[in-house]
C-alpha cells in the first residue's frame, strides 16, 4: 500500500487512514476534499483532474518529510489524490496524519493540504454547462493573479 499515490480509482477515507497506520498511533486526522458543484455562483457540471503522477507522488512524499521535520511527534503521513473525471460530491483527495496523541495532528494535516495546493503538480478543470476553465488557487486560466 503506497503512502503517497495518484490514482484514477474512487477514494476511501478508511483506506487512506489505514495507510497512515502505526503501532503507536492513538490519533489520526484526515482531510477530505470534495468536488463542489459551484464556483463563484456558477454551476459546475463535473471536474477533470490531471497530474504529472511520478513527480506528484515525489512531491507528496516531500510534504511527508517536511511534516516530520516540523512536528517530530507525527508518526506517518499518507496522501492519495484522484485524477480523471470527478462528479460533484466525489472525493478528490484524502490526507491522513497519525500521532500517538492529538496535539499536532491538526496543524500537520492543515499544513499538508496547504502545501499540496502549492507544490504538487496536479491541475483542475471545471466544466460548466457553457464552457470550461483550468483553475488554480489565486491564479486564473490566463495566469493572472486574482
Amino acid at each position: 500500500m503506497k503512502r503517497f499515490q495518484i490514482t484514477t480509482d474512487p477514494l476511501s477515507v478508511d483506506d487512506v487512514t489505514a495507510r497512515a497506520a502505526h503501532p503507536a498511533a492513538g490519533a489520526v486526522t484526515t482531510f477530505v476534499g470534495l468536488a463542489r458543484g459551484e464556483t463563484d455562483g456558477r454551476e459546475v457540471r463535473y471536474l477533470e483532474y490531471e497530474a504529472y503522477p511520478d513527480m506528484a507522488e515525489r512531491q507528496m512524499r516531500q510534504i511527508g518529510d517536511e511534516i516530520r521535520d516540523r512536528w517530530p511527534t507525527i508518526l506517518e503521513t499518507a496522501i492519495v489524490h484522484r485524477i480523471g473525471r470527478l462528479q460533484i460530491g466525489q472525493v478528490i483527495v484524502v490526507i491522513a496524519v497519525s500521532s500517538a496523541h492529538r496535539q499536532d495532528v491538526f496543524s500537520a494535516t492543515h499544513y499538508a493540504i496547504d502545501r499540496l495546493k502549492q507544490i504538487v503538480p496536479i491541475w483542475k478543470k471545471e466544466v460548466f454547462t457553457d464552457g470550461e476553465e483550468w483553475r488554480s488557487e489565486g491564479v486564473d486560466e490566463q495566469g493572472h493573479g486574482s
Binding site: Y52, K117, P121, I122, K125, V139
Partner: protein, 87 residues
C-alpha cells in the same frame, strides 16, 4: 563538448498549455549548454500559442523544480508546469 554539439531533451506539457498545443510531449534538439530559459524561449518562438501561459510557468527537470538558469543535459525530461490546482 564542441560548439556545434547538440543534446536532446523530452518536454512534457500539462493542463491548459497541453490543450493549446494539442500534444503532451515532444522531443527537442537544442545546443549543448542551453538553459531552461533558452528552451522556453525557443518553444515560445516555435509555438506562439504558448505565449500566454509562460508568465506563470514553473519548470521541473527530471521531476524536480528548477530555476530558469539551470543548464540542461542530454536525456533530461523537462516538464512545463502551469500554476497547480490540486486538492
Amino acid at each position: 563538448m564542441g560548439e556545434n554539439e547538440h543534446i536532446r531533451v523530452r518536454v512534457k506539457f500539462f493542463a491548459a498549455p497541453r490543450e493549446a498545443l494539442g500534444t503532451d510531449e515532444m522531443e527537442i534538439e537544442i545546443p549543448a549548454g542551453s538553459t531552461v530559459r533558452d528552451l522556453i524561449d525557443r518553444l515560445r518562438r516555435e509555438h506562439p500559442v504558448l505565449d500566454s501561459y509562460t508568465r506563470f510557468l514553473s519548470v521541473a527537470v527530471n521531476r524536480a523544480y528548477v530555476g530558469m538558469g539551470t543548464e540542461l543535459r542530454d536525456g533530461d525530461v523537462v516538464a512545463c508546469l502551469p500554476p497547480v490546482g490540486g486538492g
